[in-house]
Symmetry: C2
Subunit: 477 residues, 2 copies
């Protein structure tokens, strides 16, 4: 522990309860490394406050002693966004004990959830009140509201209700000087200056510590219908997507995956089977909650079949079959991992440009890195795919990650920028993409990001080394 | 003209065309005063660039010579947000010549419009392409996209599609150092750091000059139905609103007005007549584009009548009758002006709190300022009303505005803050509310606003004296 850290802890020992201060190394270790074991950090102390006041006390002490804090929820970041630096200079600030749903108003359609509330628990609470919180993703059993807000999380149901940004109606946060910002009131119209709520969404804990959020709830759907279709390519898929969107406002998911993704799942995930009899180059998973349900979906797909946009399709006959469809979709990452090392890219381009990008980028990668196999799968309707470049068979994993992945990453990111896209679609920047953001962002954007960071966190104590580096480090005490 | 202004103009004379530099005082005067003639400013020069590059050239010169710029679109601000200061220190930067719709993609549902595009022209272009830009307001014939974005404009159709913030998918802007930020790509998912688009929406031209925006278009409704209803009060109205929202996702407007607002219109606006035969304490204007149209509306209103939520209702039999309903609603401000001086407040509280607030705030104002008459009308569904306190009959207008309005404003604003609301709902802060924002915002909020302003505009050349003042003025050259 550094002298500054010791001094800070001495301050805290006088002001907050002992349970909030964890110094047992064994208890800290699991939280100092990200869940995929790609970023190994070290932290001498893990702080776990139980209230916003305690968070404010901690941040005030951190500012006083200039000790950096790394805010953490479920530790499910895909970009090392919640892992402390390896030098032990920072403390982990875990929000998990703040796990109360403070209020839930079904009529008004709002819930106020603390940062440590686990997504699945919010889902349950909303359903119990006859409402729905419509954002969901694979990590729903561990991801917390604070983390989801701070990373502007996406997932598989963004098409209709948007990402976290669109679902956050208010935020309570502790700023870098320890002051509490109370912005929880769910005001539909509020023009009192710059939107601090939207500024904190997606800021990855670098501008303030989100302690609670007011979240929108929507009506519970009465009908749910899903289809699985085979198609010749993303271009046809996009045309079908536009038809579906013209026919209903209730299209919830429109996911695309190539044959090799399906094959990987069928080969590596026990109990899965292909929804369609014949093989198809590309597959679609479409879900809607339109009251017209399966009937409407069948009509749309029949016409698409007649017009050659799809080659075959099946509509789920039960909720169990819908779950089977989603099990395939949700298993792709695991299944592909079993097939060997890959370079994975969470990227977006304008939706209209996605079909062309998927084909051209895969071809370009395979040409540039002989022996690799490239393909994308995911959220076609959001213009967001997970683009994976798999190493040639027999490649040593260690060497691949060390030598090839950085080159592949730069190559893919250049293609994304050329297509007017984003190198960080739904997983954020964290520490994984901070160099690429600096390399590729326009000077105007980078200057603005750094300016806002310096203004909101002048001592650089909030999640340093994530999202953006300051142009010049703060003066030392 | 100050020496700095002259030097800046000498720079510009070499780099941009003469048409972009207006120095004729008569041509400038109409743009130096706000449309309601409440703020009289002065500017020796009006700059009217025709391209983003020209805007960048102008801002670069302004930064070099430290000459403040006041960005202006249709000059329809309600809070003096686009009026230059009276001392002539700033130049007007008019975006009106940048009036091109650069692209409109009906399939993708996006239009890229330059800052000077007039809202009504965007409406027409969208309709011509079979789409709809769903934000509208009284000033649609003069308000420009740049101003609407920069003020996060609201209006009468916010209920379903949100205010401007929800409709902006990307922004091109010139930052205070003259650099161009190209954020126009319509990416549905983009987590490359702080959301600069959302930061610029509602920033009132104090963080950058918005030169173009990518705007969402929605499907054109096939059905439009509207009803006028009489009810005993806002509490019943809110219950009806919740029923309507549970029955349809396509509720577009839910406006409330007290009897005195209707009476004012009937008395002062020729050709208007009451939609209902009997007198009611409160009136509602409800509009939907649900495919079930008038039939669904009739069903909802019949049940509401049976349950006592409304006392009477009529459904518009034609588009002309819908227009008549809206004519009443849109004439309230003019009609009330004809009734004598008033103190007007554009405020919001959480929707659930609005019925109680409307009754209690009116009573509190009338008790505190004897002889006045207070009432609110407007967007009940958004938790946003225009709350007017009318002077006692015979009050001298000059004296009322000078002596009474500041007191009334502080009194009303205190009530709003106590109800967890916003003193600036849809009209912004501008110069009208800057003192009240400083008085009432929490230290945390004010500190954050000032920090962001100082970071993005360190020389304070962008719309100074609007929205927020810097804690300390920038060092002079």
């Amino acid at each position: 522990m550094t002298p500054a850290q010791s001094a800070m802890l001495a301050d805290l020992a006088r002001t907050i309860d002992a349970k909030a201060i964890v110094t047992d190394a064994d208890a800290i270790v699991p939280w100092a490394t990200d869940w995929r074991d790609r970023y190994r950090g070290r932290a001498p102390v893990l702080l776990q406050p139980s209230s916003t006041t305690q968070v404010a006390t901690i941040v005030t002490a951190a500012a006083r002693h200039r000790v950096p804090l790394v805010a953490q929820g479920g530790n499910s970041s895909m970009v090392g966004g919640a892992t402390p630096p390896a030098d032990g200079s920072a403390l982990i600030l875990s929000l998990r004990r703040m796990d109360r749903i403070r209020s839930l108003d079904a009529d008004a359609g709002f819930a106020v959830a603390e940062a440590g509330v686990i997504l699945a628990n919010l889902h349950e609470a909303a359903i119990a009140a006859g409402r729905r919180f419509p954002l969901t993703l694979g990590a729903r059993g561990s991801a917390t509201i604070g983390g989801l807000v701070s990373t502007n999380a996406g997932g598989t149901q963004v098409l209709r209700f948007g990402s976290m940004r669109g679902l956050v109606a208010g935020i309570e946060a502790v700023f870098a000087d320890g002051s509490i910002h109370d912005g929880l009131a769910p005001l539909k119209k509020d023009n009192r200056g710059y939107d601090l709520t939207q500024l904190l969404v997606g800021a990855e804990g670098t501008l303030g510590i989100v302690t609670a959020a007011t979240l929108r709830l929507v009506t519970l759907p009465t009908v749910r219908a899903a289809a699985w279709a085979g198609t010749d390519g993303p271009e046809s898929a996009l045309r079908l997507l536009r038809r579906c969107q013209a026919a209903t406002d209730a299209l919830e998911s429109f996911e695309i995956l190539p044959r090799e993704s399906l094959d990987a799942v069928l080969a590596h995930v026990p109990g899965t089977r292909s929804p369609l009899a014949a093989a198809h180059r590309w597959h679609l998973l479409i879900e809607t909650t339109d009251p017209r349900g399966a009937e409407q979906l069948e009509e749309l797909l029949s016409t698409a079949l007649a017009d050659g946009l799809i080659a075959d399709a099946t509509i789920a006959a039960s909720d169990a079959q819908i779950a089977d469809f989603w099990r395939i979709r949700d298993s792709i990452s695991d299944a592909e991992r079993a097939m060997g090392p890959a370079s994975q890219h969470d990227i977006s381009v304008p939706v209209e440009a996605m079909p062309g990008f998927m084909i051209a980028a895969a071809a370009a990668c395979e040409a540039r890195f002989p022996g690799t196999h490239a393909s994308g799968f995911g959220h076609l309707g959001d213009g967001n795919i997970h683009f994976h470049v798999r190493a040639a068979a027999g490649t040593d994993a260690g060497r691949w990650y060390r030598d090839a992945v950085p080159d592949v990453t730069r190559f893919v990111d250049d293609l994304v920028v050329a297509a007017g896209g984003s190198i960080a679609a739904e997983h954020g920047i964290g520490q994984m993409k901070i160099d690429e953001l600096e390399r590729l962002a326009s000077p105007a954007r980078l200057h603005a990001l750094r300016g806002v960071k310096a203004a909101m966190d002048p001592l650089a104590i909030l999640n340093p080394g994530k999202l953006v580096r300051l142009a010049s480090p703060p003066a030392t005490q």
